[in-house]
Subunit: 184 residues, 2 copies
């Protein structure tokens, strides 16, 4: 059977988490030539603002594009952490924004946190790239694509006027996460 | 069993078809409060530039977010038409860009066409909103959401500086399609 690796980006609408998922899927498939599927399902909770975006990575064609056993979950709000971190696999990883997720759920997974949105605001002056900063952190954590492949996919999607900002956000997320990991 | 309605947007990478799918899913779920799932699967063909994006609409939660029986397919390139129009259901609909799809596939479905990209370029001066123009046409064709719900979802996603342009593109696609339908 094909190896599946599942990553869920969750938070609230407007945080750019669908875009983060699409960039990761494009890094896997368009940059690295492997298989990826990316999806979002919207139910009544979408009107309240909860949002999730999932990426499945495989070395073979992906028949079922929704997450079934989440290897890694990003949660950018408390509501998202409560709602979407429940099905992380044993030994998986949860990454949260430490300012916004005050009560991270417990489970048989590793938990990392840092103030993702505040870091974007304070170090880059732009909260809007917090999603790309989070993506850099997720790629550092998982190494599902190389650092360079992720950067290429980020640059491909960024509007011309924002390429440098996005590149900085990606690098900052990647480096912050690697520093956190080596401190643990 | 729940009613499923499946719409596929296909063409080449960079035509904004993933965004069109996301806007439609948000019109269904966030504006109208029903269920939607949106997905893209990327295989080796993604490196060659072929792209598809699918939206499933239902009155109940959607378990399987990939299209299985396509009710409506948009094809913005010949390659996409050849590759992705094959599984339109009997009685379904194919919409193609008439400049780019010179040999539309035949089948037991209705075929509509107009020069989608050229219309965006000539009437709005911006090819980049051809995806929103196509979305307006798809909503006119299918009425899966109201004209107003689609517009709300378009405006929600458009950057501030481009709201008016996107609104015009949406209206132009919607009106062009309605005119074509009444002429047929």
């Amino acid at each position: 059977m094909a190896q599946r690796y599942e990553i869920r980006f969750s938070g609230s609408g407007g945080q750019g988490l669908i875009t983060a998922g699409i960039i990761l899927a494009e890094a896997v498939a368009i940059v690295e030539g492997r298989h990826a599927a990316q999806s979002q399902s919207y139910g009544p909770e979408a009107r309240g603002g909860a949002s999730k975006s999932e990426v499945i990575i495989s070395d073979e064609p992906i028949d079922y594009p929704k997450a079934t056993k989440v290897n890694v979950c990003l949660a950018m709000t408390q509501e998202a952490a409560d709602k979407y971190a429940g099905d992380i696999v044993s030994g998986g990883i949860l990454l949260t924004d430490s300012d916004l997720v005050k009560n991270p759920p417990a489970g048989d997974f590793k938990h990392y946190q840092f103030p993702i949105i505040r870091t974007a605001k304070e170090q880059l002056g732009r909260e809007i790239v917090a999603n790309v900063l989070a993506l850099g952190a997720i790629i550092a954590l998982t190494e599902v694509v190389t650092r360079d492949s992720g950067e290429q996919a980020v640059l491909k999607r960024a509007p011309a006027a924002f390429k440098e900002l996005n590149q900085k956000a990606y690098a900052l997320g990647y480096e912050t996460m690697k520093a956190l990991m080596s401190a643990n």
